[in-house]
Symmetry: C2
Subunit: 257 residues, 2 copies
């Protein structure tokens, strides 16, 4: 496990020290996916000033690997470490500047020149276990919370596009990466796993064929227990077999769903 030390600052400290701490005009934005109540969700922040929503993001320390920046930002917002993070795209429109967009409606309080410049941002997405996340706002935001993927409001800048591109990238990856391991709790049922794939892919799947394909990957273990408390026949619980899972990840999956 990589050690990712958080070095987050207060807003004032940030505004003062950003120019000497961080790379200029380059940022990271994270699309953090979760899954709860049969809904794919994404973690959003709400700005203090404008009340508008945005993706969690941050900046890159001058001597920091961008991958580590992304991990640090993820950890700061969710408390989670050792998470699969996928870099999916860099967004480089010259109009990507907070000065030109975010504060059009509500005039900026006092934002440093450093922050007002045009920024190129590198997008990462990650998959986290909903129940383990403790959402924490950053220096600029007053709230950090989950939002259903199909109820995302208009976000600042090009953040809606970033989210859309992250979803596209996730949909492509779903065939090569067992997303259930990251998004579901340790024990889960087959219908839960299926609904996860259905929400990500945005289409319904045949129950029987789905189960056949998933089990054919040979990375799941069916437990003796069944999930109690549902309104109907109790489904079996499954979990990822750690050894088989790791082996499959190394050798590469071919889901083909």
């Amino acid at each position: 496990m990589k050690k990712v030390q958080s070095r987050s600052l207060t807003e004032k400290e940030f505004l003062d020290k950003a120019p000497e701490l961080y790379l200029p005009q380059l940022s990271i934005d994270c699309v953090i996916f979760g899954f709860h109540d049969d809904q794919l969700k994404v973690l959003l922040l709400q700005w203090k000033d404008s009340n508008r929503w945005c993706l969690p993001g941050g900046f890159i320390f001058k001597d920091e690997h961008i991958q580590d920046s992304a991990e640090r930002i993820l950890k700061d917002r969710t408390g989670l470490g050792d998470i699969y993070l996928k870099q999916f795209y860099a967004f480089g429109d010259p109009n990507r500047a907070l000065g030109k967009h975010a504060f059009k409606a509500t005039p900026a309080t006092k934002i440093s020149d450093w922050l007002m410049k045009r920024f190129v941002t590198i997008g990462y997405w990650s998959l986290v276990e909903f129940s383990k996340v403790v959402p924490v706002p950053d220096e600029f935001s007053k709230e950090c919370s989950w939002c259903d993927i199909d109820k995302v409001p208009s976000l600042i800048l090009d953040h809606n596009q970033i989210l859309e591109k992250a979803l596209q990238s996730l949909r492509l990856d779903v065939n090569d990466y067992p997303v259930g391991k990251d998004l579901l709790p340790e024990k889960f049922t087959m219908p839960e796993l299926q609904r996860l794939y259905e929400t990500i892919l945005g289409k319904t799947l045949d129950r029987r064929n789905f189960q056949k394909k998933v089990l054919a990957l040979d990375i799941l273990e069916r437990l003796k227990e069944r999930k109690q408390g549902g309104a109907h026949k109790a489904p079996f619980l499954y979990r990822f077999d750690p050894k088989k899972y790791k082996k499959a990840l190394k050798e590469g999956l071919k889901f083909g769903i």
Copy 2:
């Protein structure tokens, strides 16, 4: 067609003006693929100082879209415009600094502080028609030339990794994008197209099945003519049917090769 204006400078002008013209600590690197004599090739530059080879790259004007930067760099090195360019990854190791690597052996002449800093670079690959390219060195290089993909020497910094990652990305895209259109001359034979795919994928393909699949895409037109001059039976010439090709691109291909 997008208008991409070249604004290239001499080396001295560059060193003087870079800080005010370009984004700091951010660069673009292009992996430009070509195909000739049944070989997949990549365009490389040789540095004046160290004689070492590297990928064509450049920087981003402060008000320029990164996609436009990549197009500009491509145009400056090859003379070609209106080319498919794919952004595939951003490389963000904090050790990515010319000062720390490229000039270790041969002490730097006079390189500006600006250039010696750590750079994050955004990688693009593109596919160009070999015969149409006129390779042009940039301010820092004395040579610009094609190199067989399997004879690439040790490059500066992490450029070998960048190339490798570009190849991986290209291999993934080959199923969704008809690479032949960009890499081959207007008229080409089926064997030529097959060898193109074989070099990209690094494996041999069955002649008959390959032809069946390609033709099933319904984007090629077989001409009356045959290719003369070969040592054996003259193969038919094909070309991409412009209408069908555009239509297929919009609706998405599924090659499955």
